[in-house]
Symmetry: C2
Subunit: 361 residues, 2 copies
C-alpha cells in the first residue's frame, strides 16, 4: 500500500484509478522512465512523447476494434465537443437529430442550435430521464447526423445497443467507453472525457471516421476544425502530456485484463448492487430495469432517516462520493472500470448494516 488510508471512491468523475496506474503516474512525475526528466517536462515534439501518442492511439484502435478508417485524437475540453460537432457537421440550413436522454444530451442539442437546426428524435425528459428513449423506426431522411449519449451519468441510464441509423452516428461515450464490448464501428464519431473510465481530467478522446472529414461544412480556425487536428496528428498545440500518459497507463491496464474480463466484472458489480437495491427495503433504484446503467447506479433511500443513517455509515467506513448529482439528489454510485468488486461488496455490507440498524429502531 502506498497510501496510509485508502478510500473507496465511487465518484462519478474524476473517478478512482487503479492503484498500479497511480503508482506509475506518480513515478513518471518524479522521473519518466529513467530519462532524468519528469513526464511534466518532456517536449511534446520528440521521441518520448511520440511514443506515448503512438502507443495510446494504437491501443484505442485495438481495444475498440477499429481499422485504418478511423483517426484517434486526444483533445482538450469534453464539452467543447458539444460545439465542435455541429460547427463541423451541421450546416446552417441542416438538421441534426439528438436523442434527448439527459442533461448533457439536452445541452449538446442547445449548443447545436447555435449552428443549425436540432431536433429531438426521442426524449425521456417528461419522465425525469428515468429510461433511455428508443428511436422511432422512421427517422427524417436528411439528418446531418444522429447524436446520442451512450450512458447518462446523472440519471444512471445506458443505451445498451447502439441504434442502426443511416445518418452518421455521433456518440458521447464519456461514461462508458471501453467498459463493455460495443460495435464502435457503428459510430462515425465518438468521444469520451478521460476522467471516468480512461484516466484523469484534462483530456478527451475523439475518434473520427476519415469519411467524415470531407463533410466538414464550415471554414473554421484550426483549433475548432477536426480535419486540422487530424492533419497535425493531434498536436496542433501543446497537448496535455500528463493526462494523455495517464490514459495510456489505463489503456495498458485495460488491455492486460482484456475487455471481455472488464465487461464481465462490470456486469457482476452492477448486478450485485441492483440486486441489493431491489431487495433492501430501505433503498429503491430510480431507473427502469431495461435502461439501468452498468456504470452509474442511481437510487434513493426511502426516507430521510435511512438516508442519514446510510450516509453516516458510509463515511465511517471510508466510502466516499456517493451523493447524487446536484440536479438529481439521492445517491449515485459509479462503478467504472477501475472499481473492484470488493468495493461494491463493502458498500452492500454497509447497506445491509443500515437496514439492520433501522430494524432495531
Amino acid at each position: 500500500m502506498i497510501r496510509e488510508k485508502k478510500m473507496i471512491n465511487f465518484n462519478a468523475g474524476p473517478a478512482a484509478l487503479p492503484e498500479e496506474v497511480l503508482q506509475q503516474a506518480a513515478e513518471a512525475v518524479r522521473d519518466y522512465n529513467g530519462t532524468g526528466l519528469s513526464i511534466l517536462e518532456i517536449p511534446h515534439r520528440g521521441r518520448l512523447f511520440d511514443a506515448i501518442m503512438e502507443e495510446s492511439r494504437h491501443l484505442v484502435k485495438e481495444l475498440c476494434g477499429l481499422n485504418e478508417d478511423y483517426e484517434v485524437l486526444w483533445l482538450q475540453g469534453g464539452r467543447l465537443q458539444f460545439a465542435m460537432i455541429p460547427m463541423n457537421f451541421l450546416p446552417p440550413d441542416g438538421t441534426a437529430g439528438y436523442v434527448d436522454s439527459g442533461q448533457w444530451a439536452a445541452e449538446a442539442m442547445d449548443y447545436a442550435r447555435h449552428y443549425g437546426k436540432a431536433a429531438a428524435l426521442a426524449s425521456s425528459r417528461e419522465q425525469g430521464y428515468t429510461f433511455f428513449p428508443g428511436l422511432p423506426s422512421a427517422l427524417p431522411g436528411d439528418l446531418a447526423y444522429v447524436y446520442l449519449v451512450s450512458n447518462n451519468t446523472i440519471y444512471g441510464t445506458q443505451c445498451r445497443e447502439l441504434p442502426a441509423v443511416t445518418a452518421p452516428l455521433v456518440a458521447d461515450m464519456s461514461s462508458d467507453i471501453l467498459s463493455m464490448r460495443r460495435d464502435y464501428t457503428a459510430c462515425s464519431l465518438f468521444y469520451a472525457v478521460a476522467q471516468k473510465n480512461l484516466g484523469t481530467a484534462g483530456v478527451t478522446l475523439v475518434v473520427i471516421r476519415k469519411d467524415m472529414l470531407p463533410r466538414i461544412c464550415r471554414t473554421l480556425p484550426p483549433m475548432l476544425d477536426y480535419a486540422a487536428h487530424v492533419r497535425s496528428s493531434a498536436v496542433l498545440n501543446t497537448p496535455p502530456v500528463f493526462a494523455i500518459y495517464t490514459s495510456l497507463l489505463m489503456l495498458r491496464w485495460l488491455k492486460a485484463r482484456g475487455i471481455d474480463a472488464v465487461e464481465k466484472e462490470n456486469r457482476k458489480k452492477a448486478a450485485m448492487l441492483y440486486e441489493e437495491l431491489d431487495r433492501n427495503p430501505l433503498f429503491h433504484p430510480l431507473v427502469a430495469p431495461e435502461s439501468r446503467s452498468l456504470m452509474n447506479v442511481v437510487f434513493r433511500a426511502v426516507n430521510a432517516d435511512a438516508e442519514k443513517s446510510f450516509t453516516d455509515l458510509c463515511a465511517a467506513n471510508g466510502i466516499a462520493n456517493i451523493k447524487g448529482h446536484r440536479s438529481a439528489g439521492g445517491f449515485r454510485v459509479s462503478l467504472y472500470n477501475s472499481i473492484p468488486a470488493e468495493a461494491v461488496q463493502e458498500l452492500i455490507a454497509v447497506m445491509q448494516e443500515t437496514e439492520h440498524k433501522q430494524d432495531h429502531h
Copy 2:
C-alpha cells in the same frame, strides 16, 4: 535527489519545473494531503478542489497586482484563445489591431479573420521577426482591441514595456507571465499557457477585466463564452484538476521567492548568456539588443562544425532541448522561472569548452 540523473532541461515548453514542485506533484498523485485520494481522483465539485481553485486564483491576483475588477479563469487549450478572443470581442464589421511580432501573433491574426477584420498595426515579419515592432504613435480610433504577444518564444524577442493604447489591450503572455514585474492592469485580458513559467501542459490561465464582459458581441455556446466561464466560476465542465494543482504549486513557489527576486534571477541568467554570446566567436545571437527576450535566448553557431561540436558537448554534459524551433533552426535556450543560474553557468562552460576545442583544430 529523487532522480538518479538530473538533466538540465532548456526546453521551450513543456519546460523544466523546480524539484520541490515535482516532488509535491508526485506525492499528490499518490495521496493528496493524506486524504486517501489521489489528486487525480478528487471531485471537481467539493471542498478539496474548491480550496485549490480559491488559493490559485488569489495568488494570481496577488502576484499580478490585480484587484476585484479582474476575474481569473483556468481554461483548456492555449490556442483556443486565438479563436475565443475574436469570437467574443470582434464584431463582424469591426477591426482588431494585432502586433505582428512572430508566428503565434500572425496565427492569432488569421484566427481573428474568421470573425471580423484584423489589421497588423506593426510588423517585423520582413526582418525575420528579429525585433519586437513598436506601435505607431497614431492608431485607428475604433479598434475592437489591440492584441500582442509579450514574448515571442520562437524568435527570442520580448516586449519589455506594454504599450499604452485606448482600445482594450489583449496580451498572450504564455512565455513570460510572472517572470518580471509588469503592469498587468494595462491589459483588459491576458492569458498564458501554464507549461512555460507556470506549471505543466493542459491548462491556460485567462485573466479578464470585468468591464470586458458586457462587450461580448456574439451569442455563443457556453464553452466559448468568457462570461459563461466567469458565471460558472471557471468550472463549466470538469477542469484539468492536476494541471491546475501543479500551477498552484508553482504559484506558491513564486510567492515564496517573490517576483522581484524572480525577476532579478531571470535578468542575471539572461545577461550572463547574452554576454557569452556577444563574446564567444563561435556563436551569435539573432535578436536586436533592445528586443532580446529574458526567457528564450535564440542564437546560431558560426558554422556547421561549431554547431555539431556544441551539440555533442551539450549531450555529453546532460544538457537537453536546446534545438531551435523547427521554423527557426539554430539554438534556443529557454530561461524560464524554474531554471537556476547554475544551469546557465554549466551551459556557458560548455560553450567555452566548444570554443577551446575549436581553437585546437
